[in-house]
Structures are given as structure tokens and as C-alpha cells.
Subunit: 459 residues, 2 copies
């Protein structure tokens, strides 16, 4: 392929992969295989080592009109990183530096550094990066490009809340440096905010500045069991109004969580109950944390919660988070598609009821769990749905999305539109919004080379 040799001339031979066998991992992401888009046949993988190399690569691709698929850790769940057209997979993996600034509580992180690396480095420096968007092999550039969320977003927010600076390369090779080690910046339109969550379709994020926090003085993870789901979900607004703000409030049910625990060979800490809230609480001391836990438990007891399991050691807490984070993988074999709606937090119970009704119509059970503190529900459309007919997955999905929108919700809370949600995006985005987005796409990427197949095409 002629483009491969031109890339090798820019980046060096070792930075370019052309052998299909060696690039298989670069052609997929974690999207459930029944809905995952097919990678194209003629793909070359390029692994630049600097923003300047990214700029040279993009300039070449832009001149030639060659599609470029920027790629982080490949942990996305809606096909955003899959190269669906012949072109270049741009992996940022070699750009993985992390520089901590303890005086400003910030980190300058190259796009290819993983979440796990950042968490470890921050901890070494006596600091803390609060959010936990699932898979720790996710890369920071991808987490920012996708505005990842995850469990620990209730108190401190999603990735967007942490991003204070972004370096990104435009298709014409110009390098944008937005924001900085700044907590306030109102100079002009906030292009940085526009890039966050744009899924690699406007520019390629090469480095970011993230805000860090002091380490948790103490924390605890409560697993609060209930016999009924509604009692669990209805406890959430009361917790949020109570004045104790947890890091995370997750909803899981027994059947789901036991599958995940078994898959890991671990044990879920509660035997009682059928539905659980998993609440992570922090505070400046063990005494304060225990008082927070007691306060939260009293609220939940008013909604018929049973005796909670409270993990205070790091090991106990990490085990529970690990079981929670593994649900997706444990169910993946049976999953046709995983949905990611958000509704106003107080309406999450209504959405779950609606999903149950839809499941009943199709004669199946749809496993659900989610970030209850954020109103963010994940539902696994299981492969078994197909027994109702070849279009049953699509029909169930559309019904669920319509209920979501009726409740004032969005079809994607934290995973993004990627490529798999393009057919449904009109449910969340009317033509006025889509037209603006297409024109913004054109401002940044007039030839449409960046991540084609994702939602927005340049107008």
C-alpha cells in the first residue's frame, strides 16, 4: 500500500503495521459482536510518537482524502474506534507520558497513557484521580474524546469536569492548545468543551491537562440490600438531598451481580436481598466516614433496606468495585447490544419498569444495572431476543429509547453515539441540532477524514 510507505517515511518503519494478522486488535473495540461494525479490508495502523508526527500524518491524510480512525485503548462499547472504511488507524499508544504538578494539583497526560497508569502515578504523588470509567486499560485521550463517565461521577462529575487543557491536532495539521492549568478561562468560545465528547471526529487529542484531588482521607463501600428494586431506586434522591454526597451510587441486582462475581471467582458481600445499592462514601477520617454510612443507612432503612455490608479496607472495596465493573464482561457472551440511557435521576425507576414491560413483550429478561446517582441505566439486550424474530433487538431498542426520551432522557449518557447508535440518534437530536453539528464538523474537518461512520458527517 503506497500510503504505508509514506507513513513509514514520516513515522519510521516500526511505527507502521500493515500485516493484517498483526493488526487484528486494532480493528475492533469492546462493542458486543452482534452489533459491532465490520472493519474495512484495506487498513494500515500508524503509531506516531508526538503531536508533530500526528500533525504530519493528518496533513498527509487530509491532502489525500484518506480516512483516519483515532484510537485509544479500544474499550469503547459503540464501535467508535472501528475503522469502517479503508484508511489509517491512528493509535496514540506510544504517547503515554504523565507529568504531575503537585503545586497546582494537575497532571499533563499524553493521550496514550492509560487510566490505570494515571491512577497509579497520582497515588504515588499523594494525589487522587476520582472518576472510574470502568476499564483501567482505557487511554486518557479516548476517555476525553468520549467524555467517559463511570461509577465515581456523582460527587465529582464525569471526565469533562476534570479536563482543564487539551492539545489536539486538526486535520490540516494545525495544533490547537486549549485551556491550561487553569480553573477559570473565559476567553472566546470554549473549543475545549466542544472537543470533549466529540469522539475523534473534530480533531485528534494528543495531550490533556487534568485536575487532581487530594487523596481520600478515608472511604467505605456500602452494599445495601433490598427485597425490591423500587425501594432501592427511591432511596437515591433522598440520599442526594441528605447533605452527604457519595462518590458513587450504583444500582445492581442479585442475579446480575452473582454472574459477575462467579465469572471472577469472587464473592459478593451480601447474601440478603434481591436488589442492591452500592454506595461509595469518602470523608476526612474513618470516624466521619462511619457517620456518613450510618446516615445513609438510616435513609435507606426508611425504604426497607436490610442490613448493609460495609467494606472499609481497600481490598474489600476494590473487590466490590471489580465485581460491579465486570458485569459487562460477564454478560457479554449473551449480549446483542448494551444500552446506555440517562433520565432525570428520580425517573430511573420508571425507566426500569418500562424496560421490564418491553422485555415481557418479547418473552425475555433484560438485565439492567447502572449509575443510579446519575440516572444512568445500562440494559443488556440479550441475544435470546432474536428468538422473537430477526429484528427483535432493534425493535426492543427503539421501544426503550422512545420511553427514555418520553421521560426527558438521552439515548447515550456516557458511551457516546459511536457508530452503532447512528441509526437512533435522531431520537435524541432533532434536525436543528443535527444541522448545526454537521456544520461544526465541517468547520473542523471539511474533507470529513476524521472517524467517518461516526454520527456527524460534514455538511
Amino acid at each position: 500500500m503506497e500510503i504505508a510507505s509514506r507513513l513509514a517515511a514520516i513515522l519510521g518503519e516500526a511505527a507502521v503495521i500493515t500485516d493484517r494478522e498483526r493488526m487484528l486488535d486494532y480493528l475492533v473495540d469492546e462493542t458486543a459482536s452482534p452489533v459491532r461494525p465490520q472493519p474495512a479490508d484495506e487498513v494500515v495502523v500508524a503509531r506516531p510518537a508526538s503531536a508533530q508526527e500526528v500533525a504530519s500524518l493528518l496533513r498527509l491524510a487530509n491532502d489525500e482524502g484518506i480516512p483516519v480512525f483515532p484510537r485509544g485503548g479500544g474499550t469503547g462499547l459503540c464501535g467508535g474506534a472501528v475503522p469502517t472504511e479503508n484508511g489509517i488507524v491512528l493509535s496514540l499508544e506510544r504517547m503515554n507520558g504523565i507529568a504531575l504538578d503537585k503545586d497546582n494539583l494537575m497532571a499533563t497526560v499524553e493521550a496514550g497513557a492509560t487510566l490505570g497508569d494515571l491512577m497509579a502515578k497520582a497515588e504515588e504523588a499523594g494525589l487522587f484521580f476520582p472518576p472510574h470509567p470502568g476499564d483501567e486499560s482505557a487511554q486518557i485521550g479516548g476517555l476525553v474524546a468520549c467524555n467517559a463517565g463511570g461509577s465515581r461521577a456523582v460527587k465529582y462529575g464525569v471526565m469533562r469536569s476534570y479536563v482543564k487543557g487539551v492539545e489536539a491536532v486538526l486535520p490540516d495539521g494545525d495544533i490547537l492548545r486549549l485551556g491550561g492549568k487553569l480553573l477559570k478561562d473565559n476567553a472566546g468560545y470554549d473549543l475545549m468543551q466542544l472537543l470533549i465528547g466529540s469522539e475523534g471526529t473534530l480533531a485528534v487529542v494528543t495531550s490533556v491537562i487534568l485536575r487532581l484531588f487530594p487523596p481520600l482521607g478515608a472511604s467505605a463501600t456500602m452494599v445495601i440490600p433490598y427485597e425490591g428494586r423500587h425501594d432501592a431506586i427511591d432511596s437515591v434522591p433522598e440520599i442526594l438531598r441528605s447533605g452527604v454526597m457519595p462518590l458513587a451510587i450504583e444500582y445492581v441486582d442479585r442475579s446480575t451481580v452473582e454472574v459477575s462475581a462467579a465469572n471472577l471467582g469472587l464473592e459478593w458481600p451480601c447474601r440478603a436481598g434481591k436488589a442492591y445499592l452500592m454506595v461509595i462514601v469518602d470523608g476526612e477520617s474513618v470516624v466521619v466516614v462511619r457517620s456518613h454510612c450510618q446516615h445513609i443507612y438510616e435513609i435507606c432503612a426508611g425504604r426497607h433496606a436490610l442490613e448493609p455490608a460495609v467494606g472499609e479496607t481497600r481490598k474489600d472495596q476494590e473487590r466490590v468495585l471489580k465485581i460491579r465493573s465486570n458485569i459487562y464482561l460477564a454478560l457479554k457472551g449473551e449480549t446483542a447490544d448494551i444500552l446506555d440511557m440517562a433520565v432525570p435521576p428520580a425517573s430511573m425507576g420508571k425507566l426500569m419498569d418500562a424496560v421490564d414491560d418491553i422485555a415481557t413483550q418479547f418473552g425475555v429478561t433484560i438485565p439492567m444495572y447502572g449509575h443510579a446517582g446519575d440516572g444512568n441505566l445500562h440494559a443488556h439486550l440479550i441475544k435470546d431476543l432474536a428468538r422473537s424474530g430477526p429484528s427483535a433487538v432493534r425493535e426492543a431498542k427503539t421501544l426503550i429509547y422512545k420511553e427514555t426520551v418520553k421521560l426527558g432522557g438521552t439515548i447515550t449518557a456516557e458511551h457516546g453515539l459511536g457508530k452503532t447508535r447512528v441509526p437512533d440518534m435522531h431520537l435524541s437530536l432533532d434536525e436543528t441540532k443535527l444541522a448545526l453539528m454537521r456544520r461544526i464538523k465541517k468547520v473542523f474537518d471539511p474533507r470529513g477524514i476524521l472517524n467517518p461512520g461516526c454520527a456527524i458527517s460534514p455538511e
Copy 2:
């Protein structure tokens, strides 16, 4: 004026002001008069009562190519709301409804409701709106359009952090409804984030959904005196790293704060020291707050802080905040321009030294104070500078801005570019960024009718 009668036909006679005497308050904002732009001669004020009326007005203005100047409470400090061309002042004052949603801890607030109204309504409902961007007569639409900051941003962030939904009208009359009562939403480009801080140049914000919080269990306002400024400023990163996150960390000095207190007929609670940190701390109980205060005082004592004054009653705390918030007004008579830089928080002392050096060059003192926890410094360029020559204000400003940028800072942290900072914006925004912004402006407002004279003209 023909346009006035066409507006009256749409909005009703009472909604349109054409008499110059009656519209004087609509022609200015709080910008210091020496730099405030001159209002144009042929202006009509329109006060629509609904998003639909805003849409009709904009459609008319867009068809005819008439400039429209959207206006909130007129509390801006850089001329953003001044109608500098013949056209329409669009005041949102009649759209001032507030609907609270206690279950979701959200409020739906029309653009013309004031900050004071929102604070009061939230309190009535047992909730709390944390940020305090100075003047409580500011209107919510303006606060969102300008992404206002203020004192209480350290723990919970600036306006952007609270905005979950925006209704805004485009120049062609289309109504955008972005976000919702949602804590996570990743469907497409985040147009809402783009509108926040766009200063009425992309669309007219008519209503917003804001996140609220539980009320502070208890709070205290500490005034911590120091003999020297550096000790005060150098305490800030240590406080931020300590694990106790204050609502606010303000820096003021004695000379400034005494002018403000005298102007109000109030007394500043500290007689000792020349430099002060004002730290607002919250917690779930008085006991917790006192322990936080003790912890912070011990950090500061290590930097030679003197005995602090701690206000625990609401009255005492409000008095201190009032004196702090009044500094701008107290100094205004002597002020030629008020600057609003941000640097990485740990560099705020360096910036203050640089400003002092520049002041010395011009043989004056430049009063400074600011949001030290955010690295956000306000400096008053005093009228006395003009004794060094007619361009001394401009020269001093340029020198200060260049030092700011050298320290990795921005020329505007929270006030925005408005109209008065347009000549300096290239210091914070290179041509690549400006070109993107001009093209984004064109996407939303192709005829350039919205707030012309503000930074960005459509390309």
C-alpha cells in the same frame, strides 16, 4: 422608527421602549466608564415575554439584518451588553419564572430571573445554589451566557458546572433545547457547552436547567490575617492539597478591604495583618466545620498567619462576603479598567509581583484581590495611571497581560471578552483558534446580527 412599530406588533406596545430617556439603563452595564463602549444613537429596547416572542423578534431582525444586543441584569464588566450599533436591545427581564424540582435537585429558570431570586427560591425549598458571582441582580441567562465565576467556585465550580440544560433561540428563530435534567448526556457535540460563555453571540439563552445542592449543614467564614502577601498566597496550594476543600479561598489586602468596608459603613472583622485569606468552609455540622477551620488555620499558621476571625453566624458571614463583593464598587470611582486574569493557582503570587513591578514603573499602586483558590486575580487599573500619559492604561494592561500569558494564564478568567477586551484577545487566542471561532460564529449567526462588537465576527 419603523422597526419599533414592527416589534410592537409582535410583542405589544408595552414591551417596546423607544424613548431615549426611558432606556438609559439599558444602554450601559457595570463596566468602568473610562473604557465602557459608547451606545449607538438609534436603539430600541424590546422586552419579549416568551421564547416564541424571542424567536419572532430574531426572525425579523435576521431578515432585516438588524443588530440585536441580548441583555441580562447589566452587571457585566467588559461592555458585553452595550448596544454599540444601531439596533435592538433584547432584554429578557420579563421572562423570570423559576420552577424547582426537589426530586431531581434541579431548577428550571427563565433567563431573566435574578441570581438573588434563585438563591431565595432554592433556600425556601430546602436547597442551595452554591456559586456567588458577585452582584445578585445578575440574571441567570447572562450568568450562563457569560459563564460567570465568582467566589464560591473552588469546591463546586463556575456556572458551567451547574448548567444541565439550555433553551436558546437561534437568529433564524429556531429554538434549541439542549440537555435536560440529566447528569450525563453524550449524544453528539455538546452544543450546550459551546453556548455557555458565548456572550450572546451564538444564540439567545431563554431558559436553563441548573443543578442544585442540599443546603450547607453548617458553614464558617474565616478571615486569616498575614503580615505579608506571599505567606497568604503560598498557603493556598497547601490548603487545596489538605483534603479539606473550601467553598471559597479569596485573597484581599487591608487597604482595599477597608475602603470597601467604609463604603458600606461596615467593619472588617480583622484588625491585625496587612493581607488576608477569606476562606469559606462547609460541613455537615458545626463540629465538623470547626475541625475543618482548625485544620486550615494550622496550615496557615505554618506560613506565619496571625489569629483568624471566624464568623459562624449567617449575619457575620454575609457581612464579610458583602465587604468582599463590594470592593469593585468601592474602587470604581477611581478605576479606569478592571482586569480579570487567571494563572495556574500556584503562580498567583508571581503574577501579583509582576503587577506590582509594573505599577512601580508607572509610579502608582494597582489594587489587587481575587479568587486565590482559582488563580483568578482582579487588578484595578486606576485613573491616576493617566498622569503618566494618555496611553498609560493601555500600556500597563498590555504588560500585565503579557506576564499573565507567560505564566500560562488567560486574559479573562470569568468576566469574558465582551467588547472591551477585543483589542487584547489575540494574546490569549492565536489565529488558529480565532479562525475556528469565526467559522463557528458563522454556523450559528451567518448574518452576524447577535451582539456585534463582541470578540468574534463571522468569517
